[in-house]
């Protein structure tokens, strides 16, 4: 087990290294440079040259890369060229928001998808199942940017149940925090619900046809116990894998929702930074996001071993 994790960690480092190159190169290959956005209309040839020198952007790429990487190793991701906010700080304030968005949306998704799947999979292709399946397909067809304005119009402006935009830190006021996060979380949860429900349902249907379920029935166990204790866990592989990919996509992938709900998450910061060629911010966020993805998959892998002991011991 230890060796397994050691090997994984080495792979993690390799992936991180490749990602760091990618993160670095991609922004530097972009047309336009940060001096333009910094100088704005004061852009003159001399000014630009001086500024590039000040920012160290006149050096060869590899040199810039090594400088950056060295700093990264010291925990310094640099700071924004524009507002001088440190990237670490952007991440420190933005990540909790994304994390909360992801956690709440996933809790909602699981809370809806799992019971629904457990319910419908026992009677597949009956009316209730058909309605649920078709309904979740419908959810897939509603992207966040359509959902969000509708949610706000109905639940914020119309019913006044939730605030329309904004964020209150959890530490400051948990209840207000939750109220603020509900609508954006719901806006991104629809796709997740659909995917999770469908995967779990289909896996459950397969699992329920397995001998060990019949075996469990033959022991006299109740249906509820069979569903939760016997059928559920072995049916969660696809769900886990999909959740890994899905959540991975949500890290920094929630920028539309962040934009619409005026949340200062890292997705929005990232998009803004790319548009402004704020290299260090882009590099720093990309790197951390990619690492978060890698770590997430690491966790998913670990969960696989929890869910199915065959994975680690087989």
């Amino acid at each position: 087990m230890g060796k397994y994790f050691l090997r994984r960690s080495i792979q993690l480092v390799v992936v991180a290294f490749i990602i760091s190159i990618l993160a670095f190169l991609l922004v530097h290959l972009l047309p336009g440079d940060p001096s333009v956005t910094i100088l704005g209309p004061n852009d003159t040839a001399q000014n630009r040259a001086i500024l590039l020198k000040q920012l160290g952007l006149n050096k060869p790429l590899w040199q810039q890369y090594t400088t950056w990487l060295t700093a990264v190793f010291h925990g310094n991701l640099g700071q924004s060229y524009l507002n001088h906010e440190s990237v670490v700080h952007i991440l420190a304030t933005g990540f909790p928001i994304d994390l909360e968005l992801i956690v709440i949306s996933q809790i909602i998704a699981f809370a809806v998808a799992i019971p629904l799947a457990l319910f419908t999979s026992r009677r597949p292709n009956r009316p209730v199942d058909n309605v649920a399946t078709t309904g979740t397909f419908g959810l897939l067809a509603l992207p966040p940017f359509v959902i969000a304005p509708i949610l706000v119009a109905v639940f914020a402006v119309g019913l006044n149940w939730f605030p329309a935009t904004g964020f209150v830190p959890l530490t400051q006021d948990p209840w207000a925090n939750l109220q603020h996060m509900i609508l954006p979380s719901v806006a991104i949860t629809f796709g997740s619900i659909a995917v999770y429900y469908r995967l779990l349902r289909s896996d459950l249907i397969s699992t329920l046809q397995q001998d060990f379920i019949t075996m469990a029935r033959s022991k006299g166990l109740s249906n509820r116990r069979i569903m939760w204790r016997h059928a559920f866990r072995p049916s969660t592989f696809s769900l886990l894998a999909a959740a890994g990919v899905n959540i991975g996509g949500l890290i920094a992938g929630t920028f539309i929702v962040e934009y619409l709900f005026a949340l200062s998450g890292i997705g929005f910061s990232l998009v803004q930074a790319v548009n402004q060629r704020d290299y260090l911010v882009v590099q720093g966020i990309s790197l951390v996001v990619a690492l978060a993805y890698v770590i997430l998959q690491f966790i998913v892998d670990f969960l696989f071993t929890v869910v199915d002991p065959r994975v680690s011991r087989g």
């Binding site: 100088l39 852009d43 003159t44 000040q54 507002n83 001088h84 440190s86 914020a156 605030p163 329309a164």
Partner: protein, 559 residues
């Protein structure tokens, strides 16, 4: 997120603004200004009775005002940051400018007590208001102002704006003398802008010692409390504010909400008390709505308004051909444009001045004449083939609409127009290097026309591919001459003539095709009192709604 790119570039002393098209506001002010016809900002009626933005009843102390803004400020340090509408909103809360604009357009002292020129207008003496303290307890002295100046001067960003100042001396603790390279009767106007805002020495030291985000230290009505970019900025009441009794509010918070629909929704749900908007639809949505007060810039602003226009490249074919530019101008149906984009509110333009401005005059700008345009295109086509051009714009839903309408109008007279949406960062590069044919632009908001000199000057032309601030590469000695005349004279008649010449010449040469005035608005819930009714320390009415910018010290919340 492209809409976030409404981050606009308001700039330093003598610069008008550029922006890829979206809003930009010439914050600059110039000296000016007699005769500026417009009074202060305009107002519309509100259902709750009374004048919107003007407090009724006695002021009430206390409370927190939350304002939904269009975008985030990029920082609080004048030498290093670009302040747009939001920037100035934040700055007005925590800093004070040396000079300010009165409702009648005159430039009056604010943090300064007085400012006087020498007889040749090339040296200005500024005396500071006594007993003003920064929120860190330090006193406002001429040394601090000098330190501010030095920081600005050495800044790559702000430095060029101060080029005309050859030296600053501090004869005593409260006096500063500015030496100018040439006479400038309108110099004080510059001190109403970003470079006129004074920050405490502690902050300058912090920045110079390398602290990235120095804590703002100002003399303003509120004290910096917290800032989380893209989330909120909060300032709390400055108990020792030099304007006694002010501010009324305990706290003010700004929340950037980039999406207009969501910003309006947030106002409606009470998430914020007040919003700023540069979308004309906001006026439509809130006009006459009970419970809300609407203030907007429809009836005019001091000086030049920010205008939306199309910029044409004067060097690159086919727009280097005057007949083509004329055809392009004649094919624009301004009435339709007004209807579609000003929400029916914007005024038609025939130049950079609105009617009522002393410089306004009939410029002879070509009107809508599609058949004439068709003839011009046909003539061109006979010689050079179908004129095709690319209309460049920045990614923005509003501008997307504009360019599509323009495209159809141009295509209908025989052009072959394609549109291209690019990002702000790329757009500015294309502008300064002249690599465009036609592009959307929002620019020129300035109190003093002189502020726009760099954009039109023959001295700022560069070849295509190299950086030059004369984007259109318009090489017009008449305009150059007129601009210089306007700059140096103190005679109002000469100025009027000079700027009318510029305006006429622009209508002749057609580097810009005028679309409409940019409309800013502020919408507040009824309980927000007095947000458009600021007075100066002297008691005189202040220019309190400057294209989306307001002064927070005198706002109060009705019980």
């Amino acid at each position: 997120m492209t809409r976030a790119n409404e981050i606009t570039r308001r700039t330093f002393l003598s610069r008008g603004a550029v922006a890829g098209g979206a809003v930009v506001l010439g914050g600059a002010a110039g000296g000016l200004l007699t005769g500026c016809s417009s009074s202060t900002s305009t107002t519309s009626t509100t259902s709750s009775g009374g004048k919107p933005g003007v407090g009724s009843g006695p002021p009430v102390r206390g409370g927190t005002l939350t304002v939904g803004t269009i975008a985030e400020i990029d920082g609080f340090y004048p030498p290093n940051n670009h302040w747009d509408t939001n920037g100035f909103l934040y700055a007005n809360a925590i800093y004070d400018p040396l000079m300010a604009i009165a409702a009648d357009g005159t430039i009056v002292p604010y943090l300064a007590q007085s400012m006087t020129p020498n007889s040749t207008y090339d040296a200005w003496t500024l005396t500071l208001r006594p007993n003003v303290k920064f929120n860190d307890g330090s006193a406002l002295t001429s040394a601090v102002v000098k330190a501010n100046f030095d920081a600005l001067k050495s800044s790559l960003l702000a430095g060029p704006a101060l080029a005309q100042i050859t030296g600053v001396t501090v004869p005593d603790g409260m006096t500063i003398v500015y030496q100018l390279e040439a006479p400038n009767p309108y110099f004080p106007a510059g001190l109403t802008t970003q470079v006129g805002y004074v920050v405490g020495e502690a902050m300058i030291k912090q920045v110079q010692s390398g602290t990235a985000n120095a804590t703002p230290v100002g003399t303003g009505p509120f004290v910096y409390s917290s800032w989380q970019p893209n989330d909120h900025f909060t300032a709390t009441r400055n108990p020792n504010y030099w304007r006694s009794g002010l501010p009324y509010l305990d706290q003010i918070t700004f929340k950037p909400i980039p999406d207009t629909t969501q910003r309006e929704a947030t106002l409606r749900t009470g998430g914020v008390d007040m919003i700023i908007s540069s979308d004309a639809n906001t006026i439509v949505n809130f006009q006459g709505q009970s419970g809300y007060q609407l203030v907007d810039s429809r009836t005019g602003v001091l000086g030049e308004p920010t205008v939306a226009c199309l910029m044409l490249n004067m060097v690159t074919p086919p727009t280097n051909d005057l007949t083509i530019r004329q055809a392009l101008a004649k094919s624009l149906n301004v009435t339709v444009l007004q209807k579609l984009f000003g929400a029916g509110f914007a005024k038609p333009l025939d130049g950079i001045f609105l009617p009522g401005s002393p410089y306004y005059g009939n410029t002879g700008y070509p009107g809508y004449d599609p058949s004439a345009a068709r003839q011009l295109v046909a003539a061109y086509k006979a010689k050079h083939g179908t004129p095709s051009l690319e209309l460049l714009t920045v990614t923005d839903p509003y501008l997307a609409k504009v360019v599509q309408v323009v495209q159809q109008m141009w295509n209908q007279v025989g052009f072959n127009v394609s549109v291209n949406e690019i990002q702000q960062a790329n757009l500015i590069t294309d502008f300064v290097t002249g690599e465009f044919q036609a592009a959307t632009l929002a620019q020129f908001g300035a109190i003093n026309p002189d502020l726009n000199y760099v954009w039109w000057s023959t001295t700022t032309i560069s070849p295509i591919g190299s950086i030059g601030l004369n984007f259109t590469r318009m090489d017009d000695p008449v305009i150059e001459q007129a601009m210089l005349t306007g700059r140096h004279t103190t005679d109002q008649a000469t100025r009027v003539k000079a700027y009318q010449t510029v305006n006429d010449q622009l209508a002749q040469q057609l580097p810009y095709l005028w679309l409409n005035q940019y409309l800013f608005s502020e919408v507040a819930q009824d309980r927000v009192q007095n947000f458009d009714n600021a007075t100066l320390p002297s008691g005189k009415p202040q220019y309190s709604f400057q294209e989306g910018i307001f002064w927070p010290a005198q706002i109060w919340l009705a019980g």
